[in-house]
């Protein structure tokens, strides 16, 4: 192992752990207003949908069609079936449409 590599890895680990605890520490002992609670309730959805947003603006038709199929699957099926439908439809459509 190289010292530079190990130090950089510890730098990353420290930065990441800080991101994980700081938001929690900031709100831990607060009594939140109903308004703040309503905002906090919206946070998970906003983060999740932002993470997958690039899939919605993909330049590849195959990806967009597969995403459409996956959205329909997500509304009707279990987690596992939805993942299988998503992966298979993306794989097949990319193969067919290039």
């Amino acid at each position: 192992m190289q010292l530079d590599n190990v130090l950089t890895i510890f730098g990353m680990a420290t930065a990441t752990y800080l991101t994980r605890i700081l938001g929690f520490i900031a709100l831990r002992n607060r009594k939140l207003s109903p308004r703040a609670m309503a905002v906090l309730e919206a946070v998970p959805g906003c983060v999740l949908i932002s993470v997958i947003a690039p899939a919605f603006v993909s330049p590849h038709p195959a990806d967009l069609i597969a995403l459409g199929i996956t959205v329909v699957a997500a509304l009707r099926l279990s987690m596992f079936s939805t993942v299988v439908v998503g992966v298979v439809s993306a794989g097949v459509l990319r193969h067919l449409l290039g």
Partner: protein
């Protein structure tokens, strides 16, 4: 008197036993809910390991990174920026930025972890990934709707974390060993597992269009940002604009009512 105490001890023992059994079953429930998620995680882990090996990280350094840092997005970014020797400050700063969404995620968890002692809360937060966090929060909301007062289940969350952590480390290491013989995972469609998982979780959080308006703001802003700005900026841009929108709408709902 002593008989009473004996009875009480008996009840207590029975209660502890039930608690132990339910801890075990809650842990297992978390682990099994994580299995479909792993279908997307494992190919990504293999790809990351392979890329890291290509940049000269050794088979020991790869699990050191993925085990100590344990945040996939930032590890892809770091490996992309890796040089020999690596630029410590640049990579550390990029890691913080890519993972800044954790600040919001930790804040959203805070009301649920309030009753947990610090010695449990801080280790639990070390393992907080998008997936475990989302699964545990969705589960907590479902339990709250079912009228369970302790709606956040720590053993359930631990089950999701253990599954994610072991698989991430094992398969990034394997990827660094297999590196050169692997192709591009995206050609097979495994990357669609992430949108699939998150769409199902979003459906679980859906409580009507009115409350989901901020999501649409996030989706539009994040989508546009990902098209216009290189890098992972679309996540904070989308998340923050959705939260600002939520805050403005909440002001209408609550402050106007006063």
């Amino acid at each position: 008197m002593s008989e009473d105490a004996g009875m009480e001890a008996g009840t207590l023992a029975a209660e502890l036993e039930t608690a132990a059994v339910s801890t075990k079953s809650e842990f297992r429930r978390g682990l099994s809910d994580t299995l479909p998620v792993l279908l997307g995680v494992i190919p990504m882990a293999l790809v990351l390991g392979a890329q890291a090996a290509q940049k000269g990280l050794t088979v020991a350094e790869v699990p050191l990174m993925t085990g100590c840092n344990f945040a996939g997005g930032s590890e892809f970014a770091a490996v992309k920026l890796w040089t020999s020797p690596p630029h410590l400050l640049l990579i550390t700063a990029m890691t913080f930025l890519v993972n800044s969404r954790h600040l919001l995620m930790g804040a959203a968890l805070a009301p649920f972890l309030k009753n947990l002692p610090k010695r449990k809360a801080f280790p639990a937060l070390f393992f907080m990934t998008d997936e475990s966090w989302a699964l545990a929060l969705a589960d907590a909301r479902k339990r709250a709707a079912d009228g369970i007062s302790q709606c956040f289940s720590l053993p359930y969350y631990a089950g999701t974390c253990v599954g994610m952590y072991l698989m991430w480390i094992c398969f990034t290491t394997l990827g660094s060993l297999l590196g050169p013989i692997m192709g591009n995972a995206e050609t097979y469609g495994f990357d669609m597992a992430f949108p699939a998982v998150f769409l199902v979780l979003l459906k679980g959080m859906w409580t009507g269009f009115y409350k989901a308006r901020p999501w649409i703001v996030s989706l539009v802003v994040a989508g546009l940002t990902s098209l216009l700005v290189p890098g992972a900026w679309y996540v904070p841009a989308g998340a923050v604009s959705g939260i600002v929108a939520a805050s403005l709408w909440a002001r209408e709902d609550y402050d106007a009512a006063r």
